[in-house]
């Protein structure tokens, strides 16, 4: 699903927008509600899909159906309006909605399957399935029942970061930024720890300080893009500050 990049702006360490998915989901404007659905989907569909696959041991086609069903339910029943940022985090609330929805679906297994009159969104489920297979190739990496909450959190961070990396890739499409993204890929995404800044500088015919500056810019931009997305997924400034600190400033 394509994400609207129009709000991305240069400069500044903190996102300028104060647009929030929670407020938009309850808006009277259908375009706003649709945008909220988009943002929520982008951030959560993979964590939700993988969570349903593993926790409820659902087959891929059933998990796909349930994933779409969860989000439809969230919007059709206006469940986001019941979310209280003072009581829990949004992802905890969504995970609880998923649990409740899936259990309810299991209970009423005989009722009409989704897919008839429901809108199906074009999501890369085969891609998510491939990731899940790669993640669980080692049986020890399959979460135990008490680890599903942690698993959902980790997947949420992975999803958020993946989106921000794509945002950064787009920001760096301009010629003067391509080198910065390439360095970011080598050093931070692929994590080639055997390569030092000095070696990179030699390979690219740049000075060490230029490598340092390029990487610093890419990291700063990545952080800003993550925060931009994070801000839209938080209901309040306090929640955003807390979540941002948890992601980058401390341990979750």
């Amino acid at each position: 699903m394509a994400f609207d990049h129009s709000f991305l702006s240069e400069g500044g360490n903190f996102p300028q927008t104060r647009w929030s998915v929670i407020a938009a989901a309850g808006s009277d404007d259908s375009a706003e509600r649709s945008r909220a659905l988009d943002v929520l989907f982008t951030a959560y569909w993979k964590p939700v899909y993988k969570y349903i696959r593993l926790k409820f041991a659902k087959a891929p086609d059933q998990a796909q159906d349930l994933t779409q069903g969860v989000f439809m339910e969230l919007f059709e029943r206006d469940l986001l309006s019941r979310f209280d940022a003072g009581k829990s985090r949004l992802r905890t609330y969504i995970r609880m909605c998923v649990d409740s929805f899936v259990l309810n679906e299991i209970k009423h297994a005989g009722r009409q399957k989704r897919g008839g009159d429901a809108v199906h969104l074009a999501l890369d489920f085969p891609g998510a399935e491939g990731e899940l297979r790669a993640q669980t190739i080692d049986p020890a990496s399959i979460p135990s029942p008490e680890q599903f909450e942690e698993f959902f959190e980790k997947e949420w961070i992975r999803s958020l970061f993946s989106s921000a990396v794509e945002d950064l890739r787009q920001v760096c499409e301009v010629p003067k930024r391509q080198a910065a993204f390439s360095l970011f890929e080598i050093y931070d995404l692929c994590g080639d720890e055997t390569v030092s800044y000095a070696q990179l500088a030699e390979q690219r015919g740049l000075s060490v300080s230029e490598i340092t500056n390029q990487l610093a810019w890419a990291r700063r931009e990545f952080r800003r893009l993550v925060q931009q997305r994070l801000r839209s997924l938080c209901a309040t400034d306090e929640e955003f500050a807390r979540e941002s600190r948890a992601l980058f400033g401390g341990k979750l």
């Binding site: 970061f161 610093a216 700063r220």
Partner: protein, 339 residues
């Protein structure tokens, strides 16, 4: 490349994203080094002096400012201890988001236990230990206890320099200008990425009796029991004794040397359960080590005749050999000179 980020990539991105900006300062962040109990250490470039420095930044939410004050206290403790064996603090400040940081010398090296593993000579290891003693003794002379001496907190630099790190649990015994008699700072990670952060360090926020702080295996019994009022130089001496045990321990399957009894006795005396049985000061411990290195008797061990003879022989080996050769030659001449 694939859009999928594996767990390692996510962790790297978290660390990369955590690299802070220092607008309005002379520092440019370079890379993440280590994360500890409440602080994160980064490598940075000092633009003015054009040198690499290490910056420790508070990374926990701190609505009451208590942790910030502790981080600054740690910086003040370091600033108070100007010694070649202690990492110097260059600067301290506050970020735009209110978090405090302090800047110190960037140190590259390895943990002392890793460093001595490649040293087969026992005297060389002991000389290294003496330099740790010098640093700790200096801190004691300034009224500061380290309280967390262990291999992870002692680094050996690229040129053999020995640095006692992480004064996060330091206790000031003498009152400062503001009249505070005791300060405790929460422990954080060591400075270099070549030194593994020991997150097992006990962290606490107070120093009243009953509070336990330190690292199991290296902290003294009185420290483990939380008897803060009993802590003095002998508390660090206990940890130094434990550190000495680690430093003189031969590598596995090594036949290079075995721990001599006199040295074992020094370790035992330093690590005595009862405070009065330990060395009274770090310099007394260091003096015993020096005595041992010089082939002299040590206060911790009463040697028997056989040990005395052995030590005497080792100490005066050259002279004994020369005299023996001389006497043999004389004897030989006497016999050969007979008609």
């Amino acid at each position: 490349m694939s859009n999928f980020l594996n767990d390692k990539a996510v962790e790297r991105l978290r660390n990369a994203g955590a690299l802070l900006e220092f607008p309005g300062t002379r520092y440019v962040l370079q890379e993440f080094l280590a994360r500890g109990g409440m602080g994160t250490v980064y490598a940075a470039q000092d633009k003015t002096l054009n040198r690499r420095v290490a910056i420790k930044v508070l990374d926990s939410s701190d609505p009451h400012g208590e942790l910030q004050e502790r981080l600054l206290r740690e910086a003040r403790v370091l600033a108070k201890l100007e010694h070649p064996g202690i990492v110097p603090v260059h600067d301290a400040g506050t970020l735009a988001d209110g978090r405090v940081f302090y800047v110190m010398k960037f140190v590259e090296g390895s943990r002392v236990d890793q460093s001595v593993a490649s040293v087969s000579s026992l005297p060389e290891r002991l000389r290294l230990f003496l330099r740790i003693c010098e640093t700790v003794s200096f801190a004691h002379s300034r009224g500061i206890l380290h309280r967390d001496l262990k291999p992870a907190n002692v680094m050996v630099g690229a040129f053999g320099e020995v640095l006692v790190m992480d004064w996060g649990l330091a206790k000031i015994l003498q009152p400062d200008a503001a009249g505070r008699s005791e300060e405790t700072i929460v422990s954080t990670a060591p400075l270099s990425d070549t030194v593994a952060a020991d997150t097992a360090t006990q962290i606490t926020s107070a120093t009243q009796d009953g509070t336990v702080m330190g690292t199991p295996g290296f902290m003294s019994p009185e420290q483990a029991q939380g008897k803060s009022s009993l802590l003095d130089a002998r508390t660090d001496i206990f940890s130094l004794g434990k550190l000495l045990e680690v430093m003189v321990k031969p590598a596995k399957n090594s036949t290079a040397f075995r721990i001599p009894r006199a040295l074992g006795a020094i370790c035992e005396k330093a690590c005595a359960e009862n405070l009065p049985e330990r060395y009274g000061s770090v310099s007394a411990l260091a003096a015993d080590i020096s005595q041992y290195l010089d082939g002299m008797p040590v206060s911790a061990h009463r040697e028997n005749l056989w040990e005395w003879t052995q030590r005497f022989y080792i100490r005066y080996q050259a002279a004994i050999l020369l005299i023996t050769v001389y006497l043999l030659m004389r004897t030989l001449f006497v016999f050969l000179g007979r008609p």
